[in-house]
Symmetry: D2
């Protein structure tokens, strides 16, 4: 559903998690209504495997936030209230390959991503001119085996100073420390260039070629302590044939990666993604 941008500041998104039981949908929508909210969109999901329930309500015209919170507290549910405005603050981390960062910056520049890009951070200079063209700040923080820890501290400091709420790894070729991942838990999105769980780790296109698969893929997921094991947000595949060498897989893959990453980032920014038991619920 198209968001009316003129009223962005008035739009609120309520995310609810609880055990699946009678009356939650009615209770939550009544509470929103009582707080003056006009419901624009409601979606919910009950997971038969775990008995968990989650729900997203988008509404406008909330006049009594305290009243809403009191009513929700009485329902005994977990919830978060997000305002669509001001826009979320997002940092992009990248390395030598520029297809994903170029794509995200272009989308941000035409208003396709509801975020304020605070800065592009990279251990290389390849994307510097791109960032400048689109009017975004660029900070190069080179890294060597020896400086890995200190460079990461510098990255973290920039994120803190910028008030970043979402970190996007746009083909950033450094593994983050556990501390970093914990600090931004459920708020770091990575793009992996295979259809996970196939080909986790390095050189997935080379391994795909060697295995002789007839598909390649890309996966956007939240980053967790275990590499390429985080909750998946979006995936796509494309057909390949014996005629496609590794270079062709890489070329075709670039088109998948940037679309899948942008889709996942947009879903997150619109507060459409919930994580339940290591899997995502994406309210499209």
């Amino acid at each position: 559903m198209k968001i009316d941008r003129d009223q962005d500041d008035a739009i609120v998104r309520l995310l609810v998690s609880c055990d699946d039981r009678c009356g939650v949908v009615a209770g939550v929508t009544a509470a929103v209504s009582a707080s003056g909210g006009n419901i624009l969109d409601v979606d919910q999901h009950a997971d038969p495997l775990t008995g968990s329930f989650c729900m997203r309500v988008a509404f406008e015209g909330m006049t009594d936030r305290n009243g809403l919170e009191t009513a929700l507290d009485e329902l005994g549910i977990s919830y978060r209230i997000h305002r669509a405005s001001p826009l979320a603050r997002m940092a992009i981390l990248c390395s030598k390959q520029t297809h994903c960062v170029a794509d995200l910056l272009w989308r941000a520049s035409i208003g396709e991503l509801p975020a304020t890009v605070t800065r592009v951070i990279s251990n290389h200079t390849d994307a510097e001119q791109l960032a400048e063209t689109f009017g975004y700040q660029y900070t190069e923080l080179p890294v060597t085996k020896e400086t890995k820890a200190s460079q990461e501290s510098e990255v973290l400091k920039l994120l803190e100073d910028d008030g970043v709420e979402l970190v996007v790894l746009a083909r950033y070729m450094q593994v983050l420390s556990e501390g970093f991942v914990e600090r931004y838990a459920d708020r770091i999105i990575n793009i992996h260039h295979s259809f996970l769980p196939a080909f986790p780790g390095g050189r997935p296109y080379h391994r795909a070629f060697e295995r002789g698969v007839k598909l390649i893929g890309a996966t956007a997921h939240y980053v967790t302590a275990e590499l390429d094991e985080g909750p998946i947000i979006a995936q796509r595949t494309a057909h390949v044939t014996h005629r496609d060498g590794v270079e062709d897989l890489i070329r075709k893959g670039r088109d998948l990666e940037r679309v899948v990453l942008a889709e996942a980032v947009r879903m997150h920014l619109e507060d459409r993604v919930l994580i339940e038991n290591g899997r995502t619920v994406v309210f499209e």
Copy 2:
């Protein structure tokens, strides 16, 4: 969401249409809750173009239907209440080509379509043995230019006698009269072998080949008085190349047609499709 088949008889689906205004979602969910209903699934849509609003609520445990209807009447909305049980009664009409009818019968036989197939009706005998294998009744009603009207009357009589609620045209190559279409308005689903609105009418694969398109498609839609102009429920395309002759388009198209038709029929049978201003809302 998976329907718990053991409780099919208890599941109710409420379909609502009205103008878009404050409070409908909260009002409807409260009414369902007050009637004893436990909401399993709710989905809604407001059309920015027309200002219309529609909503689907699936719930179980309704103890007070009269109370629910009274509450809904007070909201001043249009609504329909469907019980998931007993299964809807569905007739399949076909002609010489059997791929769609064979597919539907196979799906019905393994429980994939929540319907009771009352009968297969055809102006040919090609699908007769298939129907028998799957245990369904088959009635041949041949038609000529002279007997067109009388044959249609016989078809209509069978549908009436069988208490049919959904008519599926599985490549039935006879144009239905306006009276027939009106009699089963919004309850006749047709499969057209092109991505409409391209190539309406006859021989779409031949015309696609002649135009040199790189895609073929299939479209499932409700039948209206104007040929191939009814509300679209589902569509898919597949890639073709210069190597594909007309016969290849037809072969590839068969795989599209049967999947698209089955998808549309299942959506209809689960009360997931609403028609608003000539377009469908499909609550997946």
Copy 3:
């Protein structure tokens, strides 16, 4: 390219393998031409990774097979000559699930697969009536842990007696012995219900659900001694969401499996698949 069925008996397909070097394409096409053959289709592939070369030439009007063989021998290449007629003899093995076998039999019955189905063999009776409807022989050979070896011998004997050239495992839930696999090396096609190399082995849909992937897939491959490691012929994926439970993945997967398996079988039957270094070349 559409095969002219009236001339099937005259069509010959020549498959060539050799090291990549100058002059092979010109040499082979000249040899075909000199033997009276009119080339209908030629396709070739050089693998940059291994330096191997392979080629497929379809032609009609061969008047001098001995001359062709002599000329090809002189080129110092490996080759096979297949006549499109008589049709290849194909057996289908299945277990309780019928979607793949039903689909293959239907396709064979309408002439979509250029094969003579010799027999359906199963360790269950579920597909028996289907086979009879389409007019194919059905042999039930039940199996227990104790009778596994003897049952496989019976299967092998039937294949021998029937002169089978292609064995299709249409969801046959028994692992074949190494001896069986060797006996029909490169002539057993299996359908696996995941996008390999993800989720090899059992219960792939359950594991896909637990991992929270946003895609499911199906893979048709030649069977080798290592389970689910054989050369891949065809693969497809379909989108799934958090709303899809395991039962939905299984349902959506059925539509993938039967299309992917049929595609792989047709490619094989038209002599379009070559195996080079554990990967396939599929000349479409």
Copy 4:
């Protein structure tokens, strides 16, 4: 097949058209071989509808071009000989929307398109900074109803002066005159934002929304005198739902348009596209 860039200067592509008759494949490959050429890739197609035949041979090591031409002349066929080096000279025309031009420039800048971009020409300034970032020349030539003819003359003059061989209309919102189209016959590629032949002409996304289709598409085609009727090179579609408003169709469409246009341009630049009777043969 991946082109070895180190040998680009030595690679030759021979495109052949003639009536379908015996011996052409053998004759052409023999002629290439006799001229010293080592065949890298050969593909051919016979159109059953028209009896026309066409063929593409890529080879390296040609030592006797005169000898090759003499031999081909003797076969009585039409042919063109293209050298892969130097790169073809390509101009990009665009208007206010920048997604296609930005994408093409980025692809050119990373070496994905084998072309020299001579210049971006636009009737607006929106893409100017982008072009500069990627290091390409940009010429603004505004146009009004009154200056349409003179502006087109200026465009043509620039194309002539730059020695342009391919003109790409990357959402250029001006209809070209017949003279322009004739001057660059079969060398102007346009992207249309629908799955043609559906929704030709203006505002296809709006009309798609109003019709309620469940797919949108994009089509890359050669420009001919009749609007949106030229030979189609590439097409793709994407699923949409009732939730997608016109703005969403436009957003999703952008991702289709740029991929489809880039694919068509790359096919053309690699001399893989032939036009036969208003339809294309694309040797992938």
